[in-house]
Amino acid sequence: MTQFIFFVAAIGALGGALGVVLLRNPFYSVLSLAFHLVCLAALFLLLHAEFVAAAQVVVYAGAVMVLYVFVVSYIGGAEQVPSGAVLKVLGPLFALAVAVELCIAMLGSALKGIKTKGAPIHSGFGQPAHIGTQLLTKYLFAFEAASILLLVAAIGAVVLARRRRGLEGGDEEPVRIRLREPDYAGTMAEGAGVRSTRYDELLRPDDESGTQQEPKPEATHTGGW
């Protein structure tokens, strides 16, 4: 049973990883990565790392993937530029070479443990109580440093992605449209013979050409009211 779960999860993890690399659309890549993470969490469960598996699903496949999906939908899945011819050939070759080398280095090493199912473990191995005890006693400094790192990263992301004035392309400028006001808008003040003075200030350059045909109102004081 363990072997069956292992092979299903391992094939799922490897397929998800291949999907991340090979799919052209970034949105599908993100979904493939989420699938890969869930399969990896199953592998963690097989290794008796319950808390790490739960954190993987909640933090990674939940929160981080949502962040990715938001950014992909904001950018709109930019069209993929094909990579250069040299890298397209050399990249997979390099990856293959590293894979072969890593397998040889790990399986051919003198570590006796990798041929076994692992050392005998105490009950509750990898459960939240034990991990929490370790984090707050033996690894307290790493814990605090990680919290500071998260704070700095959050502030940095806000500073990086915030809207800045003056650095944008200038398309953020409010567009002011100056409409020529109709001569008579039919308000009660015009009926009483007082023209609205607000737009007269703006339209003064046009008035030399425009005043010939328009009838002069009787009350000529335009000083406002």
């Binding site: 072997q3 292992f6 391992a10 993890a13 490897l14 990883a17 991340v20 690399v21 970034p26 890549s29 990565l33 990896l40 592998l43 963690f44 290794l47 008796h48 790392a49 808390f51 993987q56 933090v59 981080v64 962040l67 990715y68 950014v71 904001y74 950018i75 930019a78 993929q80 530029v81 990579s83 890298l87 990249g91 997979p92 390099f94 990856a95 894979a99 790990m106 399986l107 570590l111 443990g113 990798i114 041929k115 076994t116 199912k117 692992g118 050392a119 473990i121 191995f125 991990i131 370790q134 033996k138 690894y139 790192l149 998260l150 700095v152 990263a153 992301a157 806000v158 990086l160 392309g169």
Partner: protein, 99 residues
């Protein structure tokens, strides 16, 4: 299952991620492939923790996840800033810091 199987899977995931980082040019895809590499390392850490029967490797894997989350936050912020400034979203074009 022997620990060696898990190590082989972790090595393959890491190498798939490395190949993706080398071949893709969209920074978003490169971040995704970086996640793959970190996850391969995580799987190796957890497998070694199981091999020794200690929990230190699992704590290390958790710290790696935190660092990955921070990296994703800053990286996605950079991508959004690049997009806002109408720069090309292509790591080959973004070479002003080249020197």
């Amino acid at each position: 299952m022997n620990i060696g199987w898990y190590l082989v899977v972790s090595a393959l995931v890491f190498c798939i991620g490395a190949g993706g980082v080398l071949t893709r040019r969209n920074p978003l895809s490169i971040l995704l492939c970086l996640e793959l590499m970190l996850n391969g390392a995580n799987l190796a850490l957890v497998a070694f923790a199981r091999m020794w029967g200690g929990e230190s490797g699992q704590v290390f894997a958790l710290i790696v996840m935190i660092v990955a989350a921070a990296e994703v936050t800053v990286g996605l912020g950079l991508i959004v800033a690049i997009y806002r400034r109408r720069l090309p979203i292509d790591v080959d074009e973004l070479s002003e810091l080249h020197g």
